[in-house]
Each structure stands twice: as C-alpha cells, then as structure tokens.
Subunit: 213 residues, 2 copies
C-alpha cells in the first residue's frame, strides 16, 4: 500500500491504524499548499483530482480516497487486530456512523474553516457555533466509556487525530474534561505516540520549508 | 424500521433506497426548525442528541445515525436489490468513499452553509468557493458513466438528494451538463420520482406551517 499523506492531517489516523495492526506501507508525503508530492515535486492532482489526502494506492494499482473508506480498508486488511467490527455486523454500522460524524460534523463542519487561514471570519464564526453541541455530546459519551465503540477502533484513531487540531484553534479541550482525558489517554497508546511523534517532526520541517519559501 | 426524516432533507436518500428495494418502514416526520416530532410534538433531541436526521430505529430498538451508515444498513437488509456492493468487496470501499465524499464535501462543506438562512455571508462565500472544483470533478465522472459505481446504488440516491438542493442556492446545475443530465435521468427512476413527489408535498406543507407560525 502507498499512503499519500500530509503531516498531522487526517491521514495521521491511517498511519496509526497501520502501526497499531502491524502493517507495512509506503508513506508518500504531499505538500497540501503546493499540491506537489514532496519527494519529486510531481503534481498531486494527478493522484487525487480533488488535491486532498488521503489517497491509498493498493496492490492492484487502484486508488482509494476519503478517510471513511480508507480506514475501513486498512482495518479489514488485518482483521484479527480488531480495528473495525466485522463487515456485516451491526457494530460495523456503528463504526460507519462515527466515521461519518467525525468526517462531516467535526472535520468539515468545524475544523476546516477554523484551520484555514484564508477562511473569512463569517465561516469561522459559523464553524465555532457548531462546536459546542458536538463536543458536549462527545464529552457525555466519553465520560461513560473509554472508546467510541467497545474497544479501540479506527474511529478512535480518527477522533484523536482531529482533536490534535484543537491546539491550532480557539477550541479549548479543557472545557470538556472527559474528551481531554480521552485524548491524553489515547496519546499513551504506543501506535499513536509513535505516529504522532514522527508526523510532528515532519510537520515542523514542513513549516520551516513554508517559512523559507 | 422507523425512519425519522424531514421533507427533502438528506433522509430522502433513505426513502429512495427503501422504495427501490421494496422494503417497508414507518416514516416519522421531524420539524428541524422546532426539533419536534411532528405527529406528537415530542422532543426530537430525545431521539438524536444532535437534533439531526436521519435516525433509524431498527428491530432491536437501537437507533442508528448518519446517512453514511443508515444507507449501508438499509441496502444490506435487501442485499439482492444490489443497492450496495457486497460487504468486504473492494467495490464496497468505493461506495463508502462516495458516501463520505457526498456527506462531507458536498452536504457539510458546500450546502449546509448555503442553505442555512442564518449563516453569515462569509460562511456562504467559503462554501461557494468550494463548489466549483467538486462539481467539475463530478461532471467529468458522470460524463463517462451513468452512475457513481457501475450500477445504481445508495450513493446515487444520496447524490440526487443533494443535487435537488441546488434550486435553493446560487449553484446552477446547467453549468455542469453531465451532472444536470444525471440528475434529470435519475428523477425518471420510479423510486426517486415517487419519493420526491411525496416529500415535495410534505415540504410544501411544512413551509406553509412555518409561514403561519
């Protein structure tokens, strides 16, 4: 598998899933500002016409897009690791529900406008207004259980990735103690600690490149 | 199954899937402005703490949320109808990719800000700026094939539902001829024609109630 990723972007969730389930992959870094593959400067739009990560090239050469699909694919390649409930089980729909919620309500609805330096203030205000109901809800749920489903799954890998982004916004995780505790607890998990440390270093290097450019 | 829905909201996709696969369900209308169940005025937040549709109560009494999950569940209950590729097949991940794209990029990223009368102009401008790349991409794909996957699936039911909303925005489908033709062609499908006509009547009744209130 070739995973096209950007440091600390939503693709961190896939790296976590790969490490957690002991799978190998080639990680290909993309600069989302220039839309170029970092190593060779090639046009990333040729890989994903929308210019977004993730893109996951699998053995057949086909490319899969969108976290909600890529994370299920990666989990299913190492099914015994249990990162997704079995396909066809009711729990699998609950996983899909969380992947959908995190991707649409949190990533697109709240964080993209807050993180985009070019977003107008009205877009940021609209996003901020949506955060409270959603974070309150997650906080109630994670006050009662350790993971979104009964055990660690790719939905947690995705949620912890998104929660990392709060440090770059006005959202203060301390306002939601159970959510803050969940985030801190998950960062103790070896796959997450390793993936985050590695991408944090790549992120710092990317920031330095952008500053120099 | 009990489907909590709002007229012409994203839940139209689930009604289409139910009709197309010949499944029975109880349709329970929700007023998303008041967050009340229309028939008895009960609090809809008790059904979905986020106050959104869909919510699908299944036989066990459990409630499933999010189109990306509900549509796969409904398709799998009548697997011979072929509204979703088999769970575990590679095509299923491609379906999930489209459900994720439609739910995050189109519904949340473009249409929610454009359709919300309370959204600031900055939020609408941010959403409008995202529409072109996404619609161009869909137009290229649907110029080459009749459906998002090889045949009609719940991803098409979802996309046609979202495209219906363009009439209430500044997005003019005529700018993307293949997409406009796809939308018109799908509206000829009996399940879609029936579901749309029924919900259109419910939508008009809802608008009249809101006006009178």
């Amino acid at each position: 598998m070739d995973l096209y990723f950007a440091p600390l972007a939503c693709t961190l969730a896939t790296r976590i899933a790969l490490y957690d389930s002991g799978q190998e992959a080639r990680f290909i870094e993309v600069d989302l500002r220039t839309k170029k593959v970092l190593a060779d400067g090639s046009d990333y739009f040729a890989v994903n016409p929308l210019g977004q990560v993730p893109a996951l090239r699998i053995g057949s050469g086909e490319v899969l897009y969108e976290n909600g699909a890529v994370l299920q694919y990666v989990a299913d390649q190492a099914a015994t690791a249990g990162l997704a409930p079995p396909a066809g089980s009711y729990e699998r729909y609950r996983l899909q529900r969380w992947l959908s919620f995190i991707g649409s309500e949190l990533q697109k609805g709240v964080f993209i406008p807050l993180l985009d330096p070019d977003a107008p203030e009205g877009a940021k205000a609209f996003a901020r207004a949506k955060a409270t109901l959603r974070f309150d809800y997650l906080n109630r749920i994670l006050a009662e259980r350790d993971y979104l489903l009964g055990r660690f799954t790719v939905a947690d890998a995705y949620l912890v990735t998104i929660l990392n982004w709060t440090v770059a916004t006005e959202i203060n995780l301390a306002d939601w103690p159970a959510l803050k505790a969940y985030h801190a607890r998950l960062h103790q998990r070896p796959s997450i600690a390793r993936a985050f440390a590695e991408e944090r270093a790549l992120y710092d290097a990317e920031q330095a490149r952008h500053k120099a450019a």
